[in-house]
Each structure stands twice: as structure tokens, then as C-alpha cells.
């Protein structure tokens, strides 16, 4: 299991980097599909089959299709570099590296040796997820709908020609 995990984890990270670094929007979108799919594999490896399937269907399927469609509709060209910030150019990447180093250091401190814990994976089937979602986490679930409503409203406000 472990090698598979590392392969897909690294793949996810690389693809995510590619999302950010690509200058052509469609490439970014395609890289995002790779990220989402590799995450789905990681879920699968952790025993969450249901989540993995949902991840592929909703994100990699529905949402990505929408993304690509929008990109094509807008006829988005290659992004022109607009970097005028000297601060970001000189400090951005080093700071990111330091930040990453700090996080790794913390992880290292916490998990000095690669101990694998074979804890019993909880049941993550549709029934269990559903029960969690509509019982223990019913409030977050409902409140998420407000969040989505706000997002829709915001999109309308910002994008609609005449309010």
C-alpha cells in the first residue's frame, strides 16, 4: 500500500504545481483533473471507496467539464506575465520553500520514524457517510447550503449585466 500511496501523493503534488505554473488555462484545467484523480486513488487506498467514487464523479466529471467549457467559451488565451512585484519575485519562492521546510520539520519532529499504524479503518460506505452527514454533521451540512447560496448570489452580483 505504502508505495502506491507515495506514487499518487507525489503525482497529486506535481500536478497541482502544474496547475499553478501552466500559462495556458486549458492545461491548468487538465492538470487539475490529474490532481483530483490521484486524490481519489489516495482515498481508495485509505479504504474510502465511496468518497473516491464521488470524487471522480463530481469533481473530475461534472465540475471539470464545467471548467473546461467555460474556458473554451471565454476563449481564454495564454496568460501574459504581469509580475511587477519585486518583492514577490525575490522573496516568493524562497519563502515558500522555507515554509515547506518548516512544515516538514514539524512533521519530522512528530513522526521521527516511519511507523505504520494499522488501525482498523472505519466503515466509509454510503450508509455510514450518509448517517454521519445527516445526523452528527447535519448542521454543517445545512449551513453549507447557505455558503453555496452566498456563492451563487455573489456570482450573480458580480457577473450579471444588469441587476
Amino acid at each position: 500500500m505504502a508505495p502506491l500511496f507515495y506514487i499518487f501523493a507525489v503525482l497529486a503534488i506535481l500536478a497541482a504545481l502544474s496547475v499553478v505554473l501552466q500559462r495556458t488555462p486549458v492545461y491548468s484545467a487538465l492538470s487539475l483533473i490529474v490532481v483530483l484523480c490521484s486524490l481519489a486513488v489516495v482515498y481508495l487506498l485509505l479504504g474510502a471507496e465511496f468518497l473516491a467514487v464521488i470524487q471522480v464523479i463530481i469533481y473530475a466529471g461534472a465540475i471539470m467539464v464545467l471548467f473546461v467549457l467555460v474556458i473554451m467559451l471565454l476563449n481564454a488565451r495564454q496568460e501574459t506575465p504581469s509580475d511587477r512585484s519585486r518583492l514577490a519575485r525575490w522573496l516568493g519562492a524562497p519563502l515558500l520553500l522555507v515554509f515547506l521546510g518548516e512544515l516538514l520539520f514539524a512533521v519530522w519532529e512528530r513522526f521521527p520514524a516511519a511507523t505504520t499504524r494499522a488501525a482498523a479503518l472505519p466503515d466509509a460506505g454510503p450508509r455510514a457517510v450518509g448517517a454521519l452527514l445527516f445526523r452528527s454533521y447535519v448542521l454543517p451540512f445545512e449551513v453549507t447550503s447557505i455558503l453555496i447560496l452566498v456563492a451563487v448570489l455573489g456570482a450573480v452580483v458580480l457577473a450579471k449585466k444588469r441587476l
Binding site: S85, L91, G92, L95, F99, E102, F105
Partner: protein, 647 residues
Amino acid sequence: MEVLLLLILLPPLAGAVLNGIFGRRFPQAVVSAVACTAPGLSLFFALLTAWTFAHLPTEPAPYVHSYFTWIEAGAFRADFALYYDRLTLVMTVAVTLVSFLIHLYSRGYMEQEGGYYRFFAYLNLFLFMMLTLVTAANYPLMFVGWEGVGLCSYLLIGFYFPRKSASDAGKKAFIVTRIGDVGFTLGVVLLFWTFGSVDFQYVFTRLEALPPGDLQGSLTAVGILLFLGAVGKSAQLPLYVWLPDAMEGPTPVSALIHAATMVTAGVYMVARSHALYAHAPLALEIVAVTGCVTAFFAATIALAQNDLKRLLAYSTISQLGYMFVGCGVGLFSAGNFHLMTHAFFKSLLFLAAGSVMHALSGELDLRKMGGLRHQMRTTWLTFLVATLAISGVPGLSGFFSKDAILAGAREGPLGDPRLYWLATVTAGLTAFYMFRALFMAFHGASRVQPALEPHVHESGGKMTRPLLVLAFFSVVAGYVSLPKALGGGEWFHHYLQPVFASSQALLSSTAAPAAGHAPSRLAVMGTSVLFAGAGFLLAYLGYVKFTGLPSRLTECFRGTYQLLVNKYYVDEVYDWLIVRPLRRGSEIFLWRIVDAGAIDGLLVNGSAQATASAGNLLRRMQSGNLRSYATWVLLGAVLWLGYILLR
């Protein structure tokens, strides 16, 4: 009684509110009616309260009434409470009386000026704050009044705000007194730490029960810190620099705030805290020495001033110094006596100066006056009375009060011959510069500019009548405390005795007896009169008899004269020592080090474009560039995280 006390305070507040809000729509007559009724009512109630107080069974014990709890936070508690004893009585009556007269005078003086309603609203507000200051029953409330009078003074100094010098002077007053206020605040905090209360009655009772020598250290510190506040407010060395500039304000303001009332708040505060200073002789000595040196120092500057109002301002500083000497040697009643008489004759001087200014279309230069006594008889007469009073000519109020201080400097619990001699010399200087001003303005040949000559006139009754009333008080106010040596009963001194008795007793018992034998009271009087006479004679010789003499003398002592004319260059020294380094420092720090140095210089272009102002750092940080902003956020996260990991 508690209602009466409030009634002293409220009329000016009501007047300020009325005039402040509706004044713009009122005709001038209504504005001035409202504005003058307020101090009139206050005076009436102050007298009524005095009468009621005198008939209280507990008199002379202080009367304290708490209206409501103002601040309560844990152990810290301050009420909106008023404190009334004989000292408060004297202060409220004097303050309301003088300010009533000055309000009346201002009706005429400000007639032609813009912002009539604004002026009176500020003036009323000032009176309210001043009364709050003198009636407060705890230090925080006193501080409210303290800050309030400062604010009003700041607003009124800058009243002619289109003049840059006026608004600068306002700013200067604000900043300089603030330095003192920091001391005051720290003093109150320290007091709270020492006693767990800031209430006058509680603290003073505790202090009276305290065995001498206890808590010496912290009480001395409190005393010095509080005195620092007084130094700022009462314009003593080294924080006196704002007062001469404050003369940019309208003259009635100079008379009321910067001569008669606000600047004496420091003296009042020291006197009010007498119980504290009684336990801190060292702090008291500092008070006395500062006062004495200031008195002398300011008097020497006044010698060479040609601007009438500035001359009076330095004279005020000098006289305030006297009051601190009075308090500092342990004779608080003497300090307050001089405070009261000074309020009358100094406001009279200022108002008379204002009358002159009015006649000469704002001219203040003594060299461009002369011979005015013919055209302006009343003004001349009243100015003369005030000059006689301030110079300490026997029979007038200033003589008695100054004499009480001089005698105190010699015989008082903390008296010292050096203080006495310096103060006596200062008395001579005072006589000289005051008569010099009198002679230059009113006597001799006219040096008024020809264009102005035909317009010179006596001011109207609105202005001269208050002058006459003040002149009356300047003459008689001294008789409330006629010294024993002259067959008097020192009534004022005895009246305040219950207030200060315990402190004076304590001071007399702890202080070492003054070295040498004290000269008799008559000798003290004689000496001071002698010095004053010498001052007068010199002025007479120099400015009436042999008018050429002063210029020849100044030729001879050019250096000294320049030093005096330029006020010992103190303003310049402050500018060099404090203002400029601060400005430079902030520029260098903000622009060079932080901005260009850290970000641009080291990392980007090796410190190239280094000529802009301090704003550049923030403009750089605030470049508007999203990526930069994100970098800052990341930088913050990295730094904090790094700290946590390295901890």
C-alpha cells in the same frame, strides 16, 4: 448644598452647549447675553455656596458629595464627586468673579471679530472645565478638568487659525503641556498603587495618619510626577515655552486662561495635594527651587521684550514661579493668596493691553506706542494701578501677597535665604520691566505710526467698566490678609489655616530650622520695597528722563541684551535638541532603514533612490500589488511558524 455645588458648574456648560449649537443663528446680542449670564450665575451660586458652607455645622471640614459612580474597575474606583472646603471656596469665587468680568469685557472686545459665538462657546466651556478642576473630589475627575481646560486653551490659542503662527502656537501648547500630563497621569497611577485609591478625602486622611518618614520614596515620586504636570500647565522651567506663544490667542483669552485661571491650576493642584507634599519635603523643595529659578529667569527675559503681550506672558511665568515658591516653602496659603491677587491684577494688565491693542488696530510693539495716556485715560489709569500692584508698591494687593511669599521664603518651614534673595531681586526686576512697559506705552512722546494716530481712542464702556472693577479688586484684594506687622489680622491666612494646618505642622516639625536669624517682617517688606523702588527708578530714568540711555546701555551690553531679546535661545535649543533630531530620526528610520535598507537596498537595487520622504516605506509596502501582499502574508506565516518551531 450638593445641588448648589452642581449649580456652580452647570451654567457655563449650558451656555457652551447653547452657543455651540445654536450660536450661529443667534444675533450677537443673544450670544453675549447667554455667554455672560452663565458665569454670572456661576458667580452667584459660588457666593451662595460659600454662604451655605459657612453655615454648615461641620465647617471647616471639607464637604464631599458623590453624585454617581463614574469608573469602577476592580479596586479602582472614581466617583463623579465634588469636594468643597475653604480652598475650593476661594478658588470658585475668584475664578467665577474674574471670568465674569472678562466675559463682560469680551463682549466689546470681540464685537468686530468673526466667530463671535464660537469664542463664547469655548470660553464658557473653559469655565466649566476650570470649575470641574477646582471642585473635583478625586484625581481622575480633576484630570478631566485638567485636560478640558487644556483643550479649550488649545482651541482658543488657535482661534485666529488662518494665521499660521496661531495654529502653530496652539499645537505647541498642546504638545508641551502633554509632556507634563504624562507626569501627572503617572503620578496618579503611582498614588493609586500606593494607597489603593485616588479619592482626595481617603488619601488625605490616610496621609494625615501616616507617621512622618513612611513611604517617603513613593510619596516623593508621586509629588515630583504631579509637579511635572503642574510645570507643564503652569508654564514653569523647562516647559514654559508654550505660554509666550499662547499670546496668539485673543487678548481676553490671554487674560482669563493664560494669566488668571488655567495656568494657576498647577499651583492649585500642588496646594490641594498639600498633605502629600507635607510627607515629601524633597518634592516640595524641588517645587520651591523650580518656582524661584523660573521667577528670576522669566523676569530677566521680560526685561528686554518689546511685544507688550509677550512681556506680560513672561511676567505671568515669573509670578507663577512666585506662587510655587510660596507653596514650596510650605506656606500654601501664601501661594494661594498670591494666586488670587495675581488673578486680578494680571487679568487687568492683559485687558488694559487689549484695550491698547484695540485702539492701535492690533499693534503690540512697545516701540510704536508712547504718550497714550492722553487719549486713553481710563486704560492708563487702570494699567498704572495694576503695575503698581504687581510691582509690590505698598498698599496694593500685590505688595501684601508678594510680601507673604518673601517672608515665607525666609521663615517658612522650608525657607532658605537663597530663595529669599533671588525672589527679592526678582521683585526688583518685576518693578523695572513693568514700569518700563508703562512708560513706553503711555508716557513720553508718541511713537504711534502716523496713519494710526487719528484713530487712537479710548475703548467703549463695555470694555472699560470691567477694567475699573478689576482695578478696584487689584487695590483692595490684599487687605484680606493684612500682615500682623502692619496691624492686620492675616485673615486670609487664618481662614485657610484649617485646610493646611496639619501639613504645615508636619513640615515645621520635620524640617530643620532655617539657618541664621530670620529678619523681621518689616525688614522683609522694607527690602522688597527698596528693590521695587530701585526698579522703578531705573525705569523712570531710562524711559522718561534720559530716553537715550537704554540704547546706549544695550550697545554696551550687546551680548547680554541679545541673549535676553532672544529669550536665552531656549526655543532654538529645543528645536535643535528635540524637534529636529526627532524629525530627522523618523525620516531616517522609516525611509532609510526600514524601507530602502531592508527591502530595496539589500535585496533589490543596492540602495539607489534614497531621497524621498518617510511615506515611501508605506507606499512601498502598500504597493497595491497583489503578489507583494501575498508575499507579506506568507512572510508573516513563515516568521511566526519559525518562531514556534525554534522556541
